[in-house]
């Protein structure tokens, strides 16, 4: 019976498809839902790594002091297939990020939304045009 339930759940997961639910849980343990942040900073480096990429940004505080933050984003692997490289987002790009602060209290956060100063979303807005495959 339990196996059938497990198998049915596996089927459901396939249907829903996209979001690995366990990742959600782990994120809520790493970042604090009660500490939303709006971070505005210039890009120092986009660490294009797995399992999640990290944006290293310099944030100017109200007192004018610069602090460095690391903000978590998604795996770069899908974007790399679309031609995105480490040059795509230039160093110094201003990013406005809706984020949640790390529970550790360090200058780390997860970026819910990354926006450019003109209001455009960084990378993809969602449901981008599907593209033809290339043999490689």
């Amino acid at each position: 019976m339990r196996i059938r339930i497990a198998a049915a759940l596996a089927g459901c997961t396939l249907f829903l498809g996209s979001l690995p639910l366990l990742a959600h849980h782990a994120f809520a343990a790493e970042f604090d839902v009660n500490q939303p942040l709006k971070l505005t900073g210039t890009l120092k480096k986009w660490e294009m790594i797995n399992p999640h990429s990290w944006f290293h940004i310099e944030v100017k505080g109200p007192d004018g002091k610069i602090s460095e933050w690391m903000v978590e984003g998604g795996s770069p692997n899908a974007l790399v297939k679309e031609g995105v490289t480490k040059e795509t987002v230039p160093i110094g790009t201003l990013l406005i990020i809706d984020a949640y602060h790390a529970k550790s209290g360090e200058n780390k956060a997860v970026g819910r939304d990354f926006t450019l100063p003109d209001g455009k979303r960084l990378f993809l807005g969602g449901s981008a045009q599907n593209v033809a495959p290339e043999k490689k």
């Binding site: 294009m48 770069p76 790399v80 031609g83 995105v84 490289t85 480490k86 490689k136």
Partner: protein, 300 residues
């Protein structure tokens, strides 16, 4: 000084012939002289042991698309993974010895570095020394991290070469680490990675692999030899017999070394019947080292 009076009579006679005859005569002399020289060489060569020609190459069987066939499972047999430079045996620390005794010691090695010394820049040499002091905690291999290049090649694990059409794969038994060699591309890395971005091509019998796009996180060995993200490695691999490849690499990193340096070693074919790569998933063995400090309750 040309004084016809001192020339042998025969030559004077030739000079006095009509030009076509003179030409023919000179040609005949030249041909005879050449033949004589050639005969002399043949005679002298026959008298020697047949030497290997200066650049001897074993010609390995071909794949169906006409390339040298490097398919198979290979392994280095040296102690370069401990220290790529020549080195003596070296002990660990008393604390480590108290737990695993002599298993903790580093064996000696002749090294794989041509010239025997890595040409570190002064600041980098300082970093190397610090790395060595902290090696048990900081060696990426201790953390079960990817080995980078060229360490992949001389890890104490077999690796398999799978020659496809546009890609050659090298897979190590260590973590199933992969090197994907693009054989018909000159594209550069989209971003930095542990294993870099490799473009390969054939140069006669030699597989030439050019790799860039490294991050700065891997080490060359367990002794703290390291590099920056400017690392550039060019490897040349040539079959030397049915049972071994000759491997050499030029390592260049202007942020760490004052000049490029070369390493070289044989790679031996693993001859066991039915040899195959097994599973060495070491992440779990490394977690206590990496995350142990965050335990709620220390290990007893």
């Amino acid at each position: 000084m040309y004084d016809p009076a001192h020339l042998p009579k025969k030559i004077l006679e030739i000079q006095q012939m009509h030009s076509w005859r003179r030409f023919t005569a000179f040609l005949a002399i030249a041909v005879i002289a050449c033949l004589a020289i050639v005969m002399a060489s043949i005679v002298s060569m026959a008298g020697q042991q047949t030497p290997a020609p200066a650049a001897a190459t074993y010609r390995t069987p071909r794949t169906k698309d006409g390339k040298p066939d490097f398919n198979g499972i290979w392994q280095a047999m040296n102690n370069a993974n401990w220290d790529i430079a020549p080195h003596n045996a070296e002990r660990a620390t008393l604390k480590i010895e108290a737990v695993i005794g002599a298993l903790s010691a580093m064996p000696p090695g002749l090294g794989i570095v041509e010239g025997g010394v890595l040409p570190y820049l002064p600041a980098a040499l300082k970093q190397r020394k610090e790395n060595f002091e902290k090696r048990f905690a900081e060696d990426p291999e201790a953390k079960c991290y990817l080995p980078g290049v060229p360490r992949f090649i001389y890890m104490p694990f077999p690796f398999q070469i799978i020659q496809g059409t546009d890609h050659i794969a090298m897979v190590s038994e260590y973590k199933g680490a992969l090197r994907d060699i693009y054989m018909n591309s000159t594209k550069k890395a989209p971003a930095d990675s542990w294993m870099g971005w490799s473009n390969g091509k054939w140069d006669g019998e030699t597989l030439v692999i050019d790799t860039t796009g490294f991050n700065d996180r891997s080490w060359f060995d367990r002794s703290g030899d390291f590099h920056s993200d400017a690392l550039h490695v060019v490897e040349r691999i040539t079959a030397a017999s049915p049972y071994h490849l000759n491997y050499e690499a030029t390592i260049e990193d202007p942020q760490v070394f004052s000049k490029p340096f070369k390493i070289s070693m044989p790679l031996y074919r693993r001859m066991e019947k039915n040899i195959e790569l097994l599973e060495y998933r070491c992440v779990e063995y490394s977690e206590e080292l990496i995350y142990g400090k965050y335990r709620k309750v220390p290990l007893q």
